[in-house]
């Protein structure tokens, strides 16, 4: 990750400047320390997870219950992983377009004073603790969404995700909405930063060709901002996946795998850990730690996918000198 070693020239042709040596050792040391700590944490977690996985009398991948504290422990990650991925992606799909719109409005449409005011508000919202969003979700959004959810079910029930016989307030959809509202400010704040840095040169080139403002944004701002927006969305996704309190408050904590986002389905790895860690016994804790490791792997995979998407267009990313 860090550039190690010295430049080939520095030894023979130029003397290294005096502050350089200590700094190099300090930064290398810090890097190594970080790796050691991370490795230690990983070893500790894996060591705790293995006995629980061995004690599991069901398949960790396919079992749809979580009875890890029983004398014959039975638990499976399937429903939790599914719920984590589905709720986070729903949140992402809801939040990203709105966040991009907000960011573009602030960076390219709003008058300057309004823009800086809105930018300030967004930064503030991004710093609100997630428990606040969770409480707001359970107190306000859950009752509020009953009507709209019923509407979706009545008129769009033929779309499988809106199907189901019973519509509830504490559903996958409402949990995802809370997650979406929670990650929206951070995605908007970073996107705005990125859009503001879009090169004036290319914006003027587009305008001089007779582009309207929206066309200019499509030609010169969005392509430039793409990698940054993807990174912002990934950061949001990571937050949504790891979010504990907000979803633990809202999800009904079922162990089903269902695409019906209006029904009483919904759980996630993080919510399950928050709900279960307190009264878990040794095996139970090990099982939760194992689920945490799965969450880690999912996050890692998502990040790698995002990096791949960003680097796919490297050739184009080189900005003209």
């Amino acid at each position: 990750m860090r550039e190690g070693g010295s430049a080939p020239l520095s030894r023979s042709a130029f003397r290294r400047s005096r502050g350089d040596g200590p700094f190099r050792y300090a930064s290398t040391g810090a890097g190594i320390l970080l790796l050691v700590i991370m490795a230690a944490i990983a070893v500790f977690l894996i060591a705790r997870a293995i006995p629980a996985l061995q004690a599991n009398t069901a398949s960790f991948l396919t079992e749809l219950t979580w009875n890890a504290n029983a004398s014959e422990p039975k638990f499976g990650i399937g429903a939790l992983a599914f719920g984590t991925v589905l709720s986070s992606f729903l949140a992402l799909i809801i939040a990203t377009p709105i966040a991009i719109g907000v960011a573009l409005f602030i960076s390219h449409y709003a008058p300057r004073r309004l823009a800086s005011f809105l930018g300030y508000i967004i930064d503030l919202l991004a710093a609100v603790p997630s428990v606040v969003y969770g409480l707001w979700g359970i107190i306000f959004l859950v009752p509020f969404m009953r009507g709209p959810s019923q509407f979706l079910n009545d008129y769009f029930g033929w779309i499988p995700i809106f199907g189901g016989d019973q519509v509830v307030g504490r559903s996958m959809l409402v949990g995802s909405l809370v997650l979406a509202i929670m990650i929206l400010p951070i995605i908007a704040a970073i996107s705005r930063e990125v859009f503001l840095q879009a090169p004036k040169m290319q914006e003027e080139a587009a305008l001089a060709l007779g582009a309207t403002r929206w066309e200019m944004i499509r030609m010169a701002v969005l392509p430039f901002g793409r990698p940054g927006v993807i990174s912002a969305a990934m950061l949001g996704l990571g937050r949504a996946m790891g979010e504990t309190i907000a979803v633990a408050l809202i999800f009904p904590a079922t162990f089903t795998i269902s695409y019906e986002i209006l029904s009483a389905n919904g759980n996630s790895i993080a919510a399950n850990i928050a709900n279960g860690f307190g009264e878990a016994n040794d095996i139970g804790r090990g099982a939760l730690i194992a689920s945490g490791l799965v969450l880690f792997v999912i996050t890692l995979l998502v990040n790698m996918a995002a990096r791949w998407v960003i680097s796919r267009r490297k050739e184009y990313a080189r900005v003209a000198a």
Partner: protein, 258 residues
């Protein structure tokens, strides 16, 4: 395909600060008009008032009248976007769209206006690249990004992009200042060719260049730092460079100041 521009008493401001004052001139069709003058005298500012690019800058305003043939460019019912479609612009630093291929760069302006068929688009892209003397160098790599070209090639790509939409007028703000002598010559040749079809205005700091490429030359100057720039005189290029009527012009072109 080319139109004359009539400018009457134009002032331009940056957030209240007056950058140019009282400029009136006629820019001939199918000819090259060069703007010369010391740095900061408002050449770029004035050039950008001609295609309503000046007002893109926050707080920037223009007063006065600019007509292109019968049309008042600053008329109340005139859409600045349509003005910019008829008056193209090439900037000092080459600015192709870095995320677009060479082909898409040239087609960018075309795609804004109409739906062209693939074959029509192919035809115009080829014609424009040939018009910009770039076709032979890029015809085998049209799908490659425009940012992979040399600076001179990028600038010709920008010219191709600007002429692809068939503007009436082409404005160029120091189009060669970031280029080597060979690329500069390539662009000067191109200007000589383009003036048969377009009305061309070029800002340059290079006296020889102004003398080589232009038919008319306008000399701008400012009384002192912080004062607005003014048009000192405008005449046939040969006249300006042999017997200018103003002392300041003579001083400037002979290199006594600026």
């Amino acid at each position: 395909m080319a139109k004359q521009i009539e400018v009457t008493d134009v002032d331009a401001y940056y957030s209240g600060h007056k950058a140019i004052e009282g400029i009136s001139m006629t820019i001939d069709a199918r000819a090259v008009t060069a703007f010369i003058g010391p740095s900061g005298c408002g050449k770029s500012t004035f050039l950008r008032t001609l295609n309503r690019m000046h007002e893109v800058i926050p707080g920037a305003t223009v007063t006065g009248k600019i007509r292109m043939e019968e049309q008042d460019l600053y008329g109340a019912d005139v859409d600045p976007v349509s003005v910019r479609r008829t008056i193209g612009m090439v900037f000092q630093r080459p600015n192709p769209f870095p995320t677009m291929s060479i082909y898409d760069n040239v087609a960018a302006g075309l795609r804004l206006n109409h739906r062209y068929s693939k074959s029509e688009l192919d035809g115009i892209v080829e014609e424009s690249l040939k018009g910009a003397n770039l076709w032979n160098e890029v015809k085998d790599r049209l799908p490659k990004p425009g940012s992979g070209l040399s600076g001179g090639q990028q600038q010709r790509l920008c010219i191709a992009r600007a002429i692809a939409v068939r503007p009436q007028v082409l404005l160029m703000d120091e189009p060669c200042s970031a280029l080597d002598p060979i690329s500069t010559l390539a662009i000067e040749d191109l200007i000589a060719k383009l003036k048969q079809e377009f009305t061309i205005v070029i800002v340059t700091h290079n006296m020889q260049q102004a003398a080589r490429v232009s038919d008319k030359t306008a000399f701008f100057n400012l009384a002192a730092q912080g004062q607005p720039g003014k048009l000192i005189e405008m005449d046939d290029t040969t006249k300006i460079f042999t017997s200018p009527s103003q002392k300041a012009t003579e001083d400037y072109i002979t290199g006594r100041f600026g």
